[in-house]
Amino acid sequence: MSLFNNEKSHGIHPPGNKITSNKKIERVPLPKQVILPLSQHIGAPSKAIVKKGDEVKVGQKIAEAGGFVSVPIHSTVSGKVTKVIEMVSSVTSNVGNAIVIEADGKDDWVKIDKPSKPNKLSKKEILNRVKEAGIVGLGGATFPTHVKLQPPPDKKIDTIIINGCECEPFITSDHRLMLEHGEEILKGLEIMMKVLGCNEAYIGIESNKPDAIENMEKIVSESNISGEVIVELLPAQYPMGAEKTLLKRILGMEVPIGGLPMDVGVVVQNVGTLKAIYDAIYDGIPLVERVLTVSGAVKEPKNIISRFGTPASEIIDYCGGTNSNANVMIFGGPMMGIAQISFDTPTTKGTNSILIQKNNTEVEGNCIRCGTCVENCPMNLMPLMYVAYVKKNMYDELKDYWIDNCVECGSCAYGCPANIPLVQYIKVGKAELQKRRPK
């Protein structure tokens, strides 16, 4: 126990509940209709290039990137565009447009542009293919990958960290991916190392996935990848999979406040993203589907692979439907996932899990300053101060407590004995601060 508790990496240990870790990835039947929001990633929304009545095929581009920090969107079924609707985004909670495509059930693919020699592609070609395939960070943050692969010239990247932690309870999609598609992940990593010109990579996996560690170690040792790839065993602790904590744990470095991992020469990438990069470069397939975990209060929890835009209700039906008292549906894990407003919400690129729960929110009590949140905070912040200041509409003071450093991991609210929704207060505080910031 260190004296001042500063050096210890803080975190919590929620029950793992990884009930699906032994379930093989299954493919969900094709949906009858998909709804594809134009804003499935962080950054500018994509711009639709199809209109009502257009016939589309699988993998056909239906929206192009709306800026540098943006990616195109591809149709995930073959069929006809029936309408463009307005819907609340399941990721950003903002109102945006979505393209609705009626599937014809044929699953016709567009002509795939498969490179003949994927190993010989130039850096520029790779970047272009990654962008055109619409790849974003599949860990949940959905940051466009091609942007991450092009750091500003003054920032030299020397290390890549592959995030296979999956520290959130319930979710096992990355775990299954590492077991079933380890080779592809490693090939994806090879491409990334080539693009970024670095020859050091770590694959961080939590200790509660011994089979995945074993598998990845085996694959790494058998491969003839150039450069050093180390599989790092990490303690099972939340939030180990957050970029900044992962970086600190593996490399012992801290990202400066307000900075990105690239400021210390590191890029952190999720295993799912690597698989997507592999698919795009070796097979020329754009990002139209992903692995996700369906767990919680469903009859048959499963790991499945499904096309984007599939209504969650169809996936849940495939898993046997929900238990009777379930009234919460979360996209993502229970710690950071976003509760959805309806079972019909379509999945998007960032949906790594569909979690069904019974609501267990309790009445908010008075803060007794027990310090649990301070102790739990992986960023060494004082979350209780945010609650106090937001309650009193004092937003300027939030900056004195470095609110921008908060990653909203939810460790504080998880442990709070008074059931205070700290994350919500923090989100309000951040939004208000943003609003008040001089433009």
């Binding site: 008075n366 106090a388 200041y389 309650k391 009193k392 004092m394």
Partner: protein, 191 residues
């Protein structure tokens, strides 16, 4: 040396101006809303107390006592303090604008701060010599600043508390002062 030390402790803690002697209450409650202003005010009070004590001591023993008109001390002392504050204000204002913004607005308040006048009276009443006067002035000022800082820290925290409407602001500050006063009783008998 021991004597000086005990005078300092006496003035700062045991007979704290605010909590035990009821001197300087107006600025104590008025300027204790923010820690930064409380500290600024405290520094200003220490400076003025020091200067006023020295000047008033000189005047009292060099002018009033020889002429046998010690009862004139009220008028003379307040005049001296008022002028000192005025001089200090002009000086800061002209030389350092930032310091003036931080301190200056509290300076006029000090003129009517009974703590300053009070310390000069106490020095004279206790027949302190010059060294003792200086220590006692510093002790009183430090004690005042300490309590002011504690109070402002507590009031900043109370700003975030769910204080009942009737107690908000000054009444709850009175309660804090009461509890602080009780706590400061602990220093009783230390000298």
């Amino acid at each position: 040396m021991d004597n000086l030390f005990s005078i300092f402790i006496m003035m700062a803690l045991v007979n704290n101006f605010v909590l035990a002697k009821f001197l300087g209450l107006c600025p104590f409650f008025g300027v204790s809303k923010k820690l930064s202003s409380a500290v600024s005010m405290g520094i200003a009070v220490i400076v003025v107390m020091f200067a006023a004590s020295v000047v008033s001591w000189l005047l009292f023993y060099q002018l009033l006592v020889p002429f046998g008109i010690t009862y004139m001390r009220t008028a003379i002392f307040i005049l001296v303090i008022a002028s000192l504050v005025q001089i200090l204000e002009i000086t800061i204002r002209r030389t350092n604008v930032n310091l003036y913004n931080a301190l200056g607005i509290y300076l006029p308040l000090i003129t009517t701060n009974c703590a300053v006048l009070g310390v000069t009276f106490i020095n004279v009443d206790q027949a302190f010599n010059l060294a003792e006067t200086i220590v006692s002035a510093l002790g009183a000022g430090v004690g005042f600043t300490l309590v002011l800082a504690i109070m402002s820290g507590i009031r900043e925290k109370l700003d975030l508390a769910d204080v009942p409407k009737a107690f908000k602001g000054i009444p709850v500050a009175f309660l804090v002062a009461m509890l602080l006063g009780i706590a400061f009783l602990a220093f009783g008998g230390m000298v």
